[in-house]
Amino acid sequence: MLGFVVRRVLQMVPMLVAIALLIFLLFSVIPGSFATGQQDEGLGLDMAVVQRMRVELGLDDPLHVRFGKYVIQLATLDLGVSFRSRQPVADMIAARMWPSLKLTIAAMGFAILIGVPLGFVAALRPGSLLDLGLMIIAVSGLSLPKFWLGILLMYLFALTLGWFPSFGYGQGGISHLVLPAVALGVSPMALLARTTRAAVLDIMNADYVRTARSKGMNEYRVVVWHVLRNALVLVLTTIGLQFGSLLGQGVVVEKLFAWPGIGSLLVDSVFQRDIPAVQGCILVITIFFLVINTSVDIAYKIIDPRIRYT
């Protein structure tokens, strides 16, 4: 068991290297674009300054040397220095890590608390009007643009009803968290509802549920003793994967609600052509995604006894 976990964790390493390489390659094609970007915006920089920047950042070294330096930097958790603010990128990201996590966790919590029971209820009465209604809600949730939902929520609950502030982080209180979390959480909620419904339906038709009924159990016991856990195991993978990707999807919601997270930092940095910051954000988000996926993999194998000893 431990061997499996270790192996799985080690498998992450080549992936991390590949991701770092990819990000590095992508952004190495635009070495001097920051300076050009500045010039485009009329904030022309002296060519000497540009040249000095190139030397300082080692932009004239051959590619593999640059990558090597980059990897070494990463190993020491040094994500470079922001072009814009001259702050270490790692510090900038660290400051914004918690707000992003908070938003992601809140959104995921909303999704699980509403989506899973919805899917369950729909599956227990398949083909009914309730089922149909819930599935329509689910497919609509998947089709909504998150930022539009955010705008609508903002208009209705903040500007019109005044129940919540319309944007910002505030002091970190709950009232600022609600609207962005809901905007971000509706689409994973819809997905979870569908997945749960499919999982429960599968299980309700399984042979072992028939056996349970033949033992003389009432439907409530059948569901609680035999369906619940089996369904949750199936749904767990989806929850995990959604969680990981939610951090990336939060980019737009963060920007809309002026939420001080990694996502809005990423967007701002892209506009400002702040390459190290962009690289850093993408790297962090991707690593987060990778770690979550690996954890879900491991957790699933721990929970399902069938796979435990393989």
Binding site: Y208, S214, K215, N230, D304, R306
Partner: protein, 328 residues
């Protein structure tokens, strides 16, 4: 009728229908048989003849698109086919128990087998989980599972097929039901294991006085364990006889075909190499049952009357039943 003579189970004129988009079809028609307390009765037929769904109907476990369309089912005299679900549930596991064909999928893969046996005691005898799990180990001993404490903590996939079926038997017999319905219990098992399981069932049920309704396509297996055999074809019972007699004196052409197609030891020595005897034709699908006697397209004794008139179930001199215009 005194209590001692009352049958344990009476199935009378059972009809089960199948509703599809293209219409309703009779899956099972006019099936009747009885089982006395402690008696072993077999239901034999090919796949699709309706024997499994007859069993499910007795348990009240039919689901859409199948449904009970008529007939009566009586358990010790009381009609149960229309019972409200709650009352029916009280019977399941406690008075009638069932074991299924595929023990791998019939057991919850995420629960230990001990737990799944223990459920019976918690459900029907109000036991606490601790006591129930102890009794589960006892139950495993009774079905001759070696190292029962260890096995009780195992998951279904960790056990062999034969072992799993023993677990199913333990579950079914846990609360000493009056009737055990066994739906193809050995079909998914190796041949050597089959006879072990069959012997186990015979022994345990004889000891407890549990009646058995054995469902199988294997005539040899059924006659081994059952005193009486009902042969089903295309949703109808076509013959009912004592096991001893059915091999030597099958009355219905279908049964005769089944008996003839069984390879037997010593046949080659006596008759030389012969191709396996088979019954010509294929089993009709539910939506395409022939008119008149449903077996007539495959029957060597077919005449005109067979194609139009449904033969009634006749009682013969020795008490056996047969549904054929040309039996004997």
């Amino acid at each position: 009728m005194s209590g001692a003579n009352m049958n344990l189970l009476e199935v009378e004129n059972l009809h089960i229908g199948l509703s599809t988009d293209t219409g309703d079809f009779p899956a099972v028609e006019g099936v009747s048989f009885t089982i006395a307390p402690g008696e072993t009765v077999g239901l034999v037929g090919e796949s699709g003849c309706g024997k499994s769904i007859t069993a499910l109907a007795i348990m009240g476990l039919l689901r859409q698109p199948l449904g009970l369309a008529g007939g009566k089912i009586r358990l010790t005299g009381k009609e149960i086919q229309n019972l409200p679900t709650a009352e029916l549930r009280a019977l399941r596991g406690k008075r009638i128990a069932m074991i299924f064909q595929e023990p791998m999928t019939a057991l919850n893969p995420l629960k230990t087998v001990g737990r799944q046996i223990a459920e019976m005691f918690v459900l029907h005898e109000g036991a606490g989980w601790g006591e129930a799990e102890r009794r589960a180990v006892d139950a495993l001993t009774q079905v001759k599972v070696p190292a029962p404490e260890r096995r009780a903590a195992a998951y279904p996939h960790e056990l062999s097929g034969g072992m799993r079926q023993r677990v199913m038997i333990a579950i079914a017999l846990a609360c000493a039901p009056d009737l055990l319905i066994a739906d193809e219990p050995t079909t998914a098992l190796d041949v050597t294991v089959q006879s072990e399981i069959v012997d186990l069932m015979k022994e345990l049920c004889a000891a407890r006085g549990t009646a058995i309704l054995m469902i199988s396509h294997d005539l040899g297996l059924v006659t081994d364990i059952c005193k009486r055999v009902c042969v089903m074809y295309a949703g109808r019972i076509v013959e009912q006889q004592d096991s001893e007699k059915i091999f030597n004196h099958p009355q219905h052409p279908y049964t005769q075909g089944l008996v003839a197609s069984l390879p037997r030891l010593g046949m080659r020595a006596r008759h030389g190499r012969q191709p396996l005897v088979e019954i010509a034709g294929v089993v009709p699908g539910i939506t395409a049952y022939p008119k008149g006697c449903r077996f007539h397209p495959r029957c060597v004794r077919r005449t005109e009357i067979c194609e139009t008139v449904v033969p009634e179930l006749e009682t013969l001199v020795d008490g056996s039943l047969v549904r054929c215009h040309h039996h004997g």
